[in-house]
Amino acid sequence: MSSLKRHRALSRIWASDPGWKGWFTTVNHTDLGRMFLTVAVFFFVVGGVLAMLIRAQLATPRSAFLGPEHYNQVFTMHGTIMMFLFAIPVFEGFAVYLLPKLLGSRDLAFPRLTAYGFWCYVFGGSMMIFSLLWGIAPDSGWFMYPPLSSTLGAPGINSDFWLIGITFVEISAIAAAVEITVTVLRYRAPGMSLSKMPIFAWYALVTAVMILTGFPPLILGSILLELERAFDMPFFQAAAGGDALLWQHLFWLFGHPEVYIIFLPAAGAISTILPVMARTGLLGYGWIVAAAVALGVLSFGLWVHHMFTTGIPHLGLAFFSAASTLVAVPTAVQLFIWIGTLAKGAPRLHLPMLWLLAFFATFVIGGLTGVMVAIVPFDWQVHDTYFIVAHLHYVLIGGFVFPMLAALYYWLPHFTGRKTYFNLGPTAFWLVVIGFHGTFLLLHWAGLLGMRRRIDSFEPGQGWEAINLIASVSSFVMAIGFALIAIDVIVSVLASVRGSRDPWGGSTLDWAMPTPPAAYNFASLPEVSARDPLWADPDLPAKIARGEGYLGDWARDRRETLTVEVTTGAPRYVVVFPANTGFPMAMSAVTGLFFLGLLTKAYWLVPLALIGVVAMALYWVWGLLPRRGEGAVPVGRGLSLVTAAEVADPPGWWGSLFLLLANGTFFGSLLFGYSFYWTIAPNWPPPAYAELSLVGWALLALGVVLALLGTRGGAGAGHALAVLGTLAIAAVGARVLWLVPDPTVHAYDATVWVLVGYGILHQGIAALMNGVIVARGIAGHGAETWQGPARIARLWTDYGGITAVLAYGAAVLPGALS
């Protein structure tokens, strides 16, 4: 009785708006996770149709089906969609849906940010689809090498869609990564120490930190290339001191971690599903965690293996070749731990396990060919041939799509609360697996016979005809298999019978709730004392439903969850979540206008949209700020905790910390690019430098001192001084730009504009934040709520001050030294 009453009360508090309106105003992670996955599957279908066009074109020699102008768009968009609009969002969708449920929380750290990220993904993805339908899609290959992708090789709007649309979409990746990091570190069930975390959470944490450090180089590259295309700033033009190779470094500095950003979540799903299928615990939990972390770290040290043929000196090649083979070690550790887990347990051949076996067969081949191409001389031969095409599909489909299909079939009963009809599943499985190997296995050989990737058709007589025909026929078999999976899932969602709560006998908290899950996840938050909580205490779901955990009482009539101490999992403070709102969607639409203005060169729209975004962000922040504290409130089990309003490290501070990690990586990539110019690029040093006068240096020092000390006073007046300090720093930046008035002259001038512009932008952010703190003092917000927001402002002010000194210094130092 009490359980049912609690369910009704919590459902009323947590429910999304009814009807179609709910889609646009929901901030609930279960809804948004499903929406992410649905949209990602839509993009998979689009990318798949493009793949079928490619295989139709290449089925026979001298095909006249597609000309190069269309074929180039088709293969570029196939890669772009599968990487940016399918693979990453699928991870985001799974993580958004699952993480709070695995961790024992009621939602992710920043529910409205989840929604904002989702809508950025939808709007940015729509831009890409629009370009495809209008036949003006990017056509320079998915890694967009300039000068081919710049004005020289692509004068039309095509490349702009890529640079602007994908950057827009990447907001969602960064937002999700910040959210996942903070959620895993702080939003767990009480008692869940780091060593008791479900293994998927470890993988999600590593992946999220990798997104925060892997995506910024690409975002920087995209901004630089768009600046070159739109304003003729010569970042990649050798004649004016730029270098086309800088793009490749920035792109693969992102692109190789990206491969592991895609693989690690899949490995997390495998590490979760495989032990359940084998009815045993995971062998070597600590080793798996160490391997995942090692993989994450190592993956940043081997981007150059995509550039073995660009003329890197031999010693550099040897280093990156060694690093590239070394990355096989943590992969092997995971692989053999999974096999050991199978050996330890008694595996059952359910459909998820079948997909995992397909993963083993496929991914091992992809890994072995990966080691082959890490050996430099072999790469010199097969680079940019169909050998690479085959290798990367073995890794990505074998290492990502197959485990994700295992995950789909494993969690489908959770999504739907229904039993799945497995009669279509095995048929679809065999069609996909046989179709896949039929498509790609022989393409390795085509590559060795000299078939280059990206050719729009081929001449007969090279021994490629049979291989390509088999590949094309098989690819259609694979497509039929995927269509059957779609039908299978739709039938399960609509028409199957209701199933049991935990059909697989899982061990993690996601199976401790009724399915489909209620909007609040857990009727009360469990106290966790084991790594496999459901196996340690089979009665846990009933205890949760009876309200025996934390926050089972709904008297305060608002959305609440608990945060814990990072390492030990001891409960720390209560977080009150926001209610349903259409605001995130509206704000992402205005953000979209900013990108649309850039895309269509309607530059009058850009500042308007920017003002709109800033105004909305201020409104968002102002609504978020606590007015008054409420002291310690009872959270159940005899414990009382304060709310996030009164702590020094509120979620916003943690979010800022990790956003600044991404931001710092962006800035570091910029400095890397600048030093790359100095050491590698032709036509350096530049003809003239900017030099800062003594007055300028003095003003900069004054501004930094004011900004950094002002935020440390603990009073509104101090933050007002900090605003003045940031304005002084910005003024010095304006002076530097005055000295290099034309950013189109040389890559030096263009880079100075970006460095100094970055510095000025961050003074604007810091000034706004400190202004908000000053306004709080005027509005009379309670002193007990002062600490958290002030520390957030201080974090951004410190960051802005330090990076401005570095950026200005880098800009004017050559002048000072010469």
């Binding site: 090498y145 270098d243 003329g311 000299g450 090279q462």
Partner: protein
């Protein structure tokens, strides 16, 4: 030479020069090794599947199979790859011939250190049996210079000059490709290498042949 099978003109596994030969034998080693490892892993999974449940040797799986096994295999492979890589470098030697290749959309222009006045389009002349260093660059977008039967590929990057060592064992004609996607004309971005015997090479340098 002229009777050579058509299917082999772009084949990496039908080498006609020392660099391509070294890489072709590297490929055979890689293929055999990968097949053995794949068979081993597949066998291990089959064993693990059929084995009755019970504790396994965790250190054996993690340290033995996860660490020692790949480290030993990879170190051996790396050493082999480095040795081959060293052999392919364009080292100074008295008999080296120097030519230059300049890529553009969608053609190649070749020039010759020993005959500065000569320039050829989409046809590179070299002497057979002598090492040739090709200085590769581009005037527009990035291209890649690749003669599959002679050597690996190397990119033509605007503003940079990369040097690739190629050599043909015997006189003959060898197909060459632009091997970096470079826009609409990519498919037809091809060239040919003709390797002359010594007398014909000297005649070419003197401008006696076209």
């Amino acid at each position: 030479m002229a009777l050579q099978g058509c299917e082999e003109t772009l084949s990496v596994v039908h080498p006609a020069g020392p660099a391509a030969s070294a890489i072709a034998s590297l490929w055979r080693v890689l293929l055999i090794g990968a097949t053995l490892i794949f068979g081993f892993v597949a066998g291990l999974i089959a064993w693990g599947w059929r084995r009755p449940p019970g504790a396994v040797n965790e250190r054996g799986f993690v340290i033995g199979l996860g660490f020692v096994f790949p480290v030993v295999v990879l170190l051996a492979l790396l050493a082999y790859g480095l040795v081959i890589g060293e052999r392919l470098l364009p080292r100074a030697a008295p008999e080296v011939v120097r030519v230059a290749a300049e890529g553009r959309q969608w053609a190649w222009r070749f020039s010759y250190e020993d005959a500065p006045e000569r320039e050829t389009e989409n046809l590179l002349h070299i002497p057979a049996g002598r090492p040739v260093d090709v200085a590769i660059t581009s005037v527009d977008v990035i291209h890649s210079f690749w003669v599959p039967r002679l050597a690996g590929k190397l990119d033509a990057v605007p503003g940079h000059v990369n040097t690739l060592r190629i050599e043909a064992y015997e006189p003959g004609r060898f197909a060459g490709l632009g091997a970096e996607f470079n826009g609409r004309g990519y498919r037809a971005h091809r060239f040919e290498v003709v390797a002359h015997e010594e007398a014909a090479w000297q005649a070419f340098l003197r401008g006696e042949t076209p």
